[in-house]
């Protein structure tokens, strides 16, 4: 389809392992966002990309979290040395441009479970 695609849809891994989550935004969308939703909580902003650059990384919870975007399209969110508190649904969203009253379009998320 033409929507935001995230993979994997589910990921179970052991504490201490690294994980990589992928997001394919809608074609032509220059803005890309990562969010995290922990159980019973709202959406927590992690990072924002405009093109390939990330002007706002303020939401990354620790230096174990990093993200990159290549070619102005696909983005990967990497969590190193995972901890149990990293368990959450990680959501990616894209919009045509950043800000300027553009709604975001979300993927279905990656449900990450750390054992």
């Amino acid at each position: 389809g033409a929507g935001v695609s995230q993979s994997p849809s589910n990921k179970v891994t052991e504490k201490g392992k690294d994980v990589e989550l992928r997001c394919d935004p809608i074609s032509g969308h220059t803005a890309l966002y990562w969010y995290r939703q922990s159980l019973g909580q709202g959406l927590e902003f992690l990072i924002y990309f405009q093109g390939n650059s990330a002007p706002d990384k303020s939401g990354l919870p620790s230096d174990r979290f990093s993200a990159e975007r290549t070619g102005g399209s696909v983005s990967t969110l990497t969590i190193q040395r995972t901890q149990q508190e990293d368990s959450a649904v990680y959501l990616c969203a894209s919009s045509l441009v950043g800000s300027n009253n553009q709604p975001q379009h979300f993927g279905d998320g990656t449900r990450l479970s750390i054992l």
Binding site: F45, Q50, D56, S58, N100, N101, Q104
Partner: protein, 112 residues
Amino acid sequence: DQQVKQNSPSLSVQEGRISILNCDYTNSMFDYFLWYKKYPAEGPTFLISISSIKDKNEDGRFTVFLNKSAKHLSLHIVPSQPGDSAVYFCAAERYNFNKFYFGSGTKLNVKP
């Protein structure tokens, strides 16, 4: 510090009646507000938005009201349908800051 708050975690309404979902915010610099609907195991989908220059925006059965002085917005669904049962998130943005703040969501149950 949560800048967008949805104080009702759940709401139950009879089919055909009005559903009113509420949202409060603390940052007076927010100037764009949105509502999203989320079904289980799916990402949120955009529903309706309003900019701060308006106090009402309507789209079919959905109307969003903005009260800037009270820093409050609400979503009205009339008439409510069972398919509207979902979690509803409100979100706010400040122009050019490229960062959306979301509430914790309200789970709406529309009973047939």
